[in-house]
């Protein structure tokens, strides 16, 4: 019996000791928390890829004021507990001066108390409005608030003189946040929500919900979700011969959606960051240079099209770089530097942070796009 307890103790000690070693180097250390695996991997993977690519690029061209950046990335697997552990590890063991990520709103909300207490600036890549509303001293975000996307759609519908909408949102963090904003902003734009329905992230057939919507008075259908759900919905809608114009969220603004939905994607309209229509933007658009650089870089590195999820990480690293270039060195001064960001033309939009606004974007960050001939085009 005693051998057993000895086994337990010895094993525990070995495990703990071998887990606690850290590296030291004379660089500016920044941390990355991305859900590279798990359900939100479609966010975390491009974000990590982009962050690595941008940091490598900066180091190759001599670093920032001669100092190299060191990016330490941990996978959170979409799990709030793991995100908290990894944030603590970045702060305590790796001694980073700033953290980029996490990828989802839930993980970000879980990490906020940790970074606030340790006074380390965090630039979240998640979209939920509550991350920066109310403003937390050390928390910033680069992903556009869902409210901005909703405003874009409602604005557009108002001009089309349509006001009876059906909502079909996915029951995960992204869909729940979108649904909240869609409902909250409806009165301001004179929208009337006639159907408010949901579907599960793993659902494979949404004809039931669409049949219900077809029987309603709705003039348009707004779908809020990330792949593959909206693609299934587009296909189902086509099967049912649903005549309603289909609006989607920025959650599907990648070529992936068109590939999945095929012909059913034709005519779908959605608010999107400008990255997918970078070529079509007018030369005067201040973001154009950043957008083209990002798209080209990502294509060269990963043989894939860069999407706006990766863009969130691009913005985060570049905002940090700009703050450090302006003279920030410690966590506290980086925070101040970030807050002083004015008119930074990134991928997600033009950022202007202030003491009262750590989201930094307005609805110009989005454009309405329409899918035509299996490609994006700016909606009139």
């Amino acid at each position: 019996m005693l051998t057993r307890i000895m086994t337990v103790l010895m094993l525990s000690a070995t495990l703990l000791l071998s887990a606690s070693f850290a590296l030291a180097a004379d660089t500016i250390k920044i941390g990355g928390l991305f859900s590279v695996t798990g359900p939100p991997a479609f966010l975390g993977e491009p974000e990590r890829n982009t962050a690595k690519m941008v940091v490598d690029g900066i180091n190759k061209s001599g670093g920032i004021k001669g100092q190299k950046l060191e990016l330490i990335v941990y996978d959170t697997a979409g799990d709030a507990t793991k995100a908290v552990q990894m944030a603590t590890k970045l702060i305590r063991d790796d001694k980073v001066v700033a953290i980029i990520g996490p990828s989802t709103t839930g993980e970000t909300m879980a990490v906020i108390p940790v970074v606030e207490k340790a006074r380390i600036p965090l630039i979240s890549c998640a979209a939920g409005s509550k991350i920066t509303d109310p403003v937390k001293r050390y928390v910033f975000k680069t992903a556009q608030n869902d409210a901005l996307a909703v405003e874009r759609i409602y604005d557009y519908l108002k001009r089309q003189r349509q006001n009876r909408v059906a909502l079909l949102t996915v029951s995960d963090g992204f869909g729940a946040s979108g649904r909240e904003q869609l409902k909250a902003l409806a009165p301001r734009f004179g929208m009337q929500i006639v159907v408010d329905d949901t579907y599960g992230p793993k659902d494979t057939d949404m004809t039931s919900q669409l049949t219900k919507i077809r029987a309603s008075q709705a003039q348009v259908l707004i779908v809020w979700g990330t792949n593959p759900g909206p693609a299934v919905i587009a296909k189902n809608a086509r099967q049912l011969g649903l005549k309603l114009p289909l609006y989607m969220s920025h959650g599907v603004s990648s070529k992936k959606f068109i590939a999945l939905a095929g012909d059913a994607a034709e005519g779908v309209r959605l608010p999107s960051g400008k990255v997918i229509v970078a070529d079509a933007l007018s030369k005067k658009d201040p973001q154009k240079a950043s957008l083209l650089a990002f798209v080209k870089d990502y294509q060269n590195h990963y043989k894939q099209e860069g999407d706006h999820f990766g863009g969130h990480a691009w913005d985060a690293v570049m905002l940090l770089k700009a703050a450090i270039e302006r003279g920030a060195t410690t966590a506290e001064s980086i925070r101040d530097g970030l807050e002083n960001t004015r008119n930074f033309h990134g991928i997600g939009g033009t950022f202007t942070y202030s003491a009262g606004d750590h989201a930094g974007l307005n609805k110009e960050a989005f454009v309405m796009v329409e899918i035509k001939n299996r490609d994006w085009s700016l909606a009139k």
């Binding site: 579907y199 057939d205 039931s208 219900k212």
Partner: protein, 294 residues
């Protein structure tokens, strides 16, 4: 649009989803009857079917009618390996160990699929076009007809196999009493192996015929597997018609639930039914207390 057409649409959608649940459920039952094991990795065979077909189609550029049987064959091979490497070494283990080993297998297969094919969702082309078919105001896709057709054929084959072939009869004998079956000269271990191969193939086929409608990714197997299991429980773990009915009932209830009650709690419906049946009629909805288990 009047209620009648609406209901018809719910019914049709439910039946097509239910047919898939039925095929997966039968896979569960075949293994359960041959071995007493509930194979938590059953859903992964469904995923493998879709992903392998996709791989053969897009990377190896094979035509569809070659890719499909090849994918089923490869999935059956995985089933065979799984039995050989994981189940056979544990023949005398407790049910708990068996549950855990199949869970481990499911995680391993899913993880390998993620490494090989990435985390993206993919869509498979429909077998014969995407033009909707009108049916008294409700609509169907040609793919739905494929699903119904293939399900019917598979169930027929299944019935024929278990009642008219030597191997099928031997497997039934094993499910009644493995020791007696062994005494009369049936190679029980081979029958167990065969049960894994057959249900892997059936699961894979289910995954292939549904993929054009629902898309496929490395992680689609979990939920489909669980739903298939619910179908099998409703059918009293038979590998025949009652599991098919179980699947269809489940599919229709889900579809009606999503359409008429609440789509958020749609998945809960399946599991509430599962619990009620386990509590009240553990022999399945249609079984007599001592039902024949094929």
């Amino acid at each position: 649009m009047e209620l009648g057409t609406q209901l018809l649409q719910y019914l049709l959608s439910g039946l097509s989803t239910g047919a898939i649940y039925a095929l997966i459920g039968i896979g569960f039952s075949i293994i359960y009857n041959a071995t007493g094991i509930i194979n938590f990795a059953q859903g992964e065979f469904v995923m493998l079917g879709g992903m392998l077909t996709l791989f053969l189609l897009s990377v190896l550029q094979l035509p569809l009618w070659i890719a499909i049987p090849l994918a089923v064959l490869l999935a059956a091979l995985v089933g065979l390996l799984f039995e050989r490497l994981a189940i056979r070494p544990l023949r005398k283990a407790s049910p708990i160990s068996l549950v855990i080993i199949t869970i481990g297998g499911a995680i391993l297969i899913r993880g390998l699929a993620m490494l090989i094919w990435g985390k993206d969702t993919h869509s498979l082309p429909s077998f014969t076009g995407d033009e909707p078919i009108m049916l008294a105001g409700a609509t169907l896709l040609p793919q739905h007809l494929w699903i119904f057709g293939i399900t019917v054929v598979l169930i027929g084959l299944n019935k024929w196999f278990f009642s008219h072939t030597i191997s099928g009869k031997a497997m039934r004998a094993c499910s009644y009493n493995p020791r007696a079956a062994g005494l009369v000269g049936i190679d029980v271990r081979r029958m167990v192996l065969l049960s894994f191969v057959i249900s892997a193939a059936m699961g894979a086929l289910a995954g292939i015929i549904v993929a054009p409608l629902t898309m496929t990714a490395y992680d689609v197997g979990i939920m489909l597997g669980l739903k298939g299991f619910c179908a099998a429980i409703i059918g009293g773990m038979s590998s025949g018609l009652s599991t098919v009915i179980g699947g269809l009932v489940l599919g229709v209830l889900e579809s009606l639930g999503a359409g008429l009650i609440s789509s958020g709690y749609k998945d809960a419906i399946a599991f509430v039914i599962l619990l009620l049946i386990l509590f009240l009629r553990p022999q399945g909805l249609f079984g007599k207390p001592e039902s024949e288990r094929v």
